[in-house]
């Protein structure tokens, strides 16, 4: 009894200490929507400290052909593999104009323990490129990162390549892209690269600004204009669909995503977002088929937790929880994962687990750190 009381008291103490250190930073709710669809967009600026406390920013390497930004964490199982691959690449290509930067995303607040882990791993892997610390995960959010590891390539100040996770095929394609950037012949013939039209990117950017200011009426026509200018610009469709969803116009959102899939049938982002809307509309079989297809490509992590949610709603709790675990291992900072899992727990009357997940989601949304 006394032991239980102590446990309860310790929990309360930890929870309170967490909230005491709370820092509320507002961030765009469309971060996930932008992920993997940012090619051609200006790269967010950042300046972070390396392990020796020196400031590093990508502008220092503006003379380079490209800057590879690798987001990683010591707890992510694929991060050491990614660090090793990029170290080998960096040693070979740094003189050929390719700079690699690693940004650690171990925690929202980096403790001395985290720092020790980062230094230890860097030493073990003999990393020679700069490793930076992302205090508060601001840069992580600015780049709309949805999985760890994740890679962004910046050339001429713009995002020229992005890859979430370390999928087999996707990683090979990315290194092919980097070889071509460095001036080497790629291992296989690259597919003609699609880059959205600049004026479409500008219109979508403006629309996004209006969404942030909640001036939705002004945002709609700008997204539509972006789509009209470049019908293959999927980001504009996805963000427009998100806006419709925000305003409760789910049927309209579905139509927008269906049009996106007509323009790019294999686009996993549009597939996943449509699958999620279909789940919410109760069309579970079709949703699971579509989400399963998207999740198998393994390049868009939300497909995993949308699929998990669809499983959960359809009563397949075990499958749902496995898929949620996979999503958490890719990106534990995504509140949406915990929100959807909480909803699944709640539907199954598992209120203790549901409460813990809603709490975690709210902590991430309010940026509560210990």
């Amino acid at each position: 009894m006394r032991h239980n009381l102590e446990k309860v008291k310790t929990f309360a103490m930890q929870a309170v200490l967490a909230v005491v250190g709370a820092v509320i930073i507002f961030f765009a709710s469309t971060a996930t929507a932008r992920a993997l669809l940012q090619m051609g967009a200006p790269a967010p600026e950042f300046s972070l400290k390396d392990l020796d406390g020196k400031d590093v920013n990508p502008a220092q390497f503006s003379a380079n052909k490209g800057v590879v930004v690798l987001f990683w964490a010591t707890w992510s199982s694929n991060s050491p593999k990614a660090l090793r691959k990029f170290e080998a690449f960096y040693r070979k290509y740094k003189e050929r104009g390719i700079q690699v930067i690693g940004i650690n995303a171990d925690n929202q607040a980096i403790s001395s323990g985290d720092l020790e882990k980062v230094k230890k791993l860097a030493q073990e892997l003999d990393i020679t490129f700069p490793l930076l610390l992302d205090k508060g995960l601001k840069t992580f959010h600015d780049f709309s990162i949805i999985a760890l590891p994740s890679t962004i390539v910046i050339s001429e100040g713009k995002i020229s390549y992005e890859l979430a996770g370390l999928p087999l095929v996707g990683t090979e394609d990315m290194f092919d892209f980097l070889l071509a950037l460095a001036g080497d012949p790629p291992r296989k013939k690259p597919e003609p690269e699609y880059m959205p039209r600049h004026d479409a990117i500008a219109d979508a950017g403006l629309a996004r600004g209006f969404v942030k200011k909640k001036r939705y009426g002004t945002a709609y026509p700008l997204f539509r204009k972006a789509i009209e200018k470049d019908p293959r610009f999927i980001l504009a469709y996805v963000e427009l669909a998100r806006l419709c969803e925000t305003e409760g116009k789910n049927a309209e959102a579905e139509d927008v995503l269906k049009k996106a899939l007509l323009a790019a049938p294999e686009n996993v982002v549009a597939q996943s977002e449509l699958g999620y809307l279909m789940t919410k509309a109760g069309r579970l079989k079709d949703a699971i088929d579509l989400l399963d297809k998207a999740a198998k490509v393994d390049s868009y992590p939300p497909s995993h937790y949308y699929l998990a949610y669809a499983f959960g709603v359809s009563g397949q709790l075990k499958e749902a929880l496995n898929a949620f675990d996979q999503a958490v291992s890719l990106n534990p900072y995504e509140p949406e994962i915990y929100l959807l899992r909480a909803e699944v727990y709640e539907k199954n009357n598992m209120l203790k687990e549901s409460s813990a997940d809603y709490r975690k989601a709210l902590e991430l949304i309010l940026k509560i750190k210990g």
Binding site: K9, A22, K214, L351, Y358, A361, L362
Partner: protein, 183 residues
């Protein structure tokens, strides 16, 4: 006295009276300006100390932060924000009773202080008084137009009480109010 005489007297005494009045107004103006400047100076000093204290707190130097926040309180005892921040710093240091005193001092100056009530609730929760915390936090919700954090705190209280149904409701409400812009 006839009306004409009265008019004469008034006009006779008018330059001296006007001068006296002018001096009075000038004095009043100078004094109130001086008071306002002094007040501004005091508030500015407190704000500056508080800014430094907050930076130290965010760096993890809680004890030093508490010292500086205490100086901010001394510099301007009428500034509720200093007591409020000091309360949160004391809370982090585990000095629950002192934290409650600081939050109560902030609420005495400004009964509508939206974070002080939440802070008091958290201090009570940390002391193990979940029932007391529930009452204070419910009251804080009435005061607070930006209630996400208060819903979060109330959710913690219900989790501690093993009332998961209520905890779920509070956390969900925190998320809903954040998303609707009532942060």
């Amino acid at each position: 006295m006839k009306t004409g005489e009265r008019r004469y007297i008034r006009s006779q005494s008018s330059p001296g009276a006007a001068f006296a009045l002018l001096v009075l107004i000038l004095n009043f103006f100078l004094l109130t300006s001086f008071d306002a400047y002094a007040e501004q100076d005091v508030r500015g000093k407190a704000e500056s100390l508080l800014k430094d204290a907050t930076a130290l707190f965010e760096e993890g130097s809680t004890d030093k932060a508490i010292g500086l926040a205490g100086e901010a309180v001394k510099a301007d005892p009428g500034y509720s924000e200093s007591y409020d921040r000091l309360g949160y710093m004391l809370l982090k240091a585990g000095k629950n009773d002192e934290a409650i005193n600081a939050f109560e001092a902030a609420l005495k100056i400004n009964p509508q202080h939206r974070t002080s009530k939440t802070g008091k609730g958290l201090a009570l929760l940390q002391k193990g008084d979940a029932t007391g915390a529930e009452v204070v936090l419910k009251d804080a919700l009435l005061l607070n137009p930006y209630p996400s954090m208060t819903h979060y705190a109330l959710g913690l209280v219900y989790e501690k009480m093993n009332n998961y149904e209520q905890a779920v409701l509070q956390f969900k409400e925190g998320i809903r109010t954040f998303k609707s812009g009532k942060r």
